[in-house]
Symmetry: C2
Subunit: 265 residues, 2 copies
């Protein structure tokens, strides 16, 4: 049996395209519908109630495309709203917190894990809880880095100020001697060089996108819902603000040309 229905993926903006990229690697036959809520981005500075309301609307939109699985690519929405979404909708859902936490737990040797993210993700304590659910003895240290998203969007990923800002935000985590750092926001991988410079070469940086794609594959396989076509899957990209801007910034995250995106009305 082969399930042709697409996988739905949403994010507050373009950052979730890193998840699309990994799904293409691990599940090349799958069709994808991606929605980036670029008219209301960012989510990371907003309340649980607002992020959850937006997330519900996003999943409703994906459902109109008859998706068989929803990937919540946004760390803030995964932290604040995944549990509620799972209660609201019958479609299976995977967020980025669990997969990221699992990867960090298997990477750490010292048992000291750092997490960076938006204000909302960090205040939610979601990563900390996910790590502790796997192993209570692990130590988790967190820091919110609100300027990282605008820095990445400004393209200032190699400038000295980016390193200075990273130095300020990451200092407490260096003091705590973490050996593993979860990049708890889809924008942060763009600042990987700077973060690596500040944290040093011995600290493993964890980006959940790959783990999410692996987990999606396992889940679809286990439930007999893989698309077994030999051809490459298709994709549809939607954004709530102007598609031209979505395409322009999105290509940085996808590392590939985006031929078309449509506005969700």
């Amino acid at each position: 049996m082969s399930d042709q229905r697409p996988i739905g993926i949403f994010d507050s903006g373009v950052g979730g395209l890193t998840v699309v990229s990994e799904v293409w690697k691990y599940l090349p036959a799958e069709n994808i519908v991606y929605f980036g809520d670029t008219a209301r981005v960012p989510y990371g500075t907003k309340s649980k109630e607002t992020v959850t309301k937006f997330s519900v609307e996003n999943v409703e939109f994906l459902m109109t495309h008859d998706v068989k699985l929803v990937l919540v690519a946004c760390n803030t929405a995964s932290s604040l709203s995944l549990e509620f979404l799972k209660r609201c909708f019958r479609v299976p859902m995977i967020g980025v917190i669990g997969p990221g936490a699992r990867e960090a737990v298997s990477a750490t040797r010292s048992g000291r894990i750092g997490v960076i993210g938006t204000n909302a993700t960090i205040s939610s304590g979601a990563y900390e809880a996910a790590v502790k659910r796997i192993d209570k003895k692990l130590k988790v240290y967190t820091a919110s880095c609100p300027l990282f998203v605008p820095l990445a969007e400004e393209g200032w990923v190699d400038k000295k100020v980016a390193q200075d800002i990273a130095g300020i935000y990451l200092k407490p985590l260096r003091t705590k001697k973490v050996d593993t750092l979860i990049l708890g926001c889809t924008h942060y991988p763009l600042l990987k060089n700077v973060i690596e410079k500040v944290m040093g070469p011995k600290v493993s940086l964890i980006d959940s996108a790959m783990e999410v794609a692996k987990e999606a594959k396992e889940l679809l396989d286990a439930s007999g819902a893989l698309n077994k076509s030999q051809a490459l899957g298709g994709h549809k990209f939607f954004s709530s603000d102007e598609p031209a801007r979505f395409i322009k910034i999105g290509e940085h995250f996808l590392k590939r040309r985006i031929d078309c995106a449509k506005r969700k009305d």
Copy 2:
């Protein structure tokens, strides 16, 4: 005759509270209804179509409070959407661009005016057009400063990185030897110290909030719509995201305690 109806003010978030502050000074008897669209902030990175759609919704909300005048406190909404709003609604409206441009024109001695703002405000060319409408011979130089809003919201207004970032953004305007600089975003007055340090003491910094309040007074007076009560006016604050956060950040802009804010549903 005395018109008790409130003045409506909207902004993409909390920054427009600087306009409220000036209205309190110039028009203490007026009632005020303020709406900050904190669930969808910022506007400055979004398209004209999206900002205009949001702005129309914001004015519709203010109209439910029977406002006699609308002040568009957001520079981006004033730049992209004011003309459309004026065609849509019969209520009189004042944006921040015209008043800011007029103040800059009367302040400049060298005839070289700088404008800083969000990407959307700067790309619109609205300040440049407003200055040229007054005097074609004036030179206008612009720079967008996307990191200023997150810097101000992070409270990093005196840190060295703030000065470094200001140094990068403002360098072209220093080279052009402007003697007047329009702070074309309601957040920028929070970075006044840093901007002053970079631009030097001889450059006048123009913040439109005061001029908007003066123009509101003239307009209400001319149309016989002033509130002539001897008592201080009342105020109602609304936000689209959590009121608690609106209050917390809003107090920095208002420089006064906010006793209550409600969520607009």
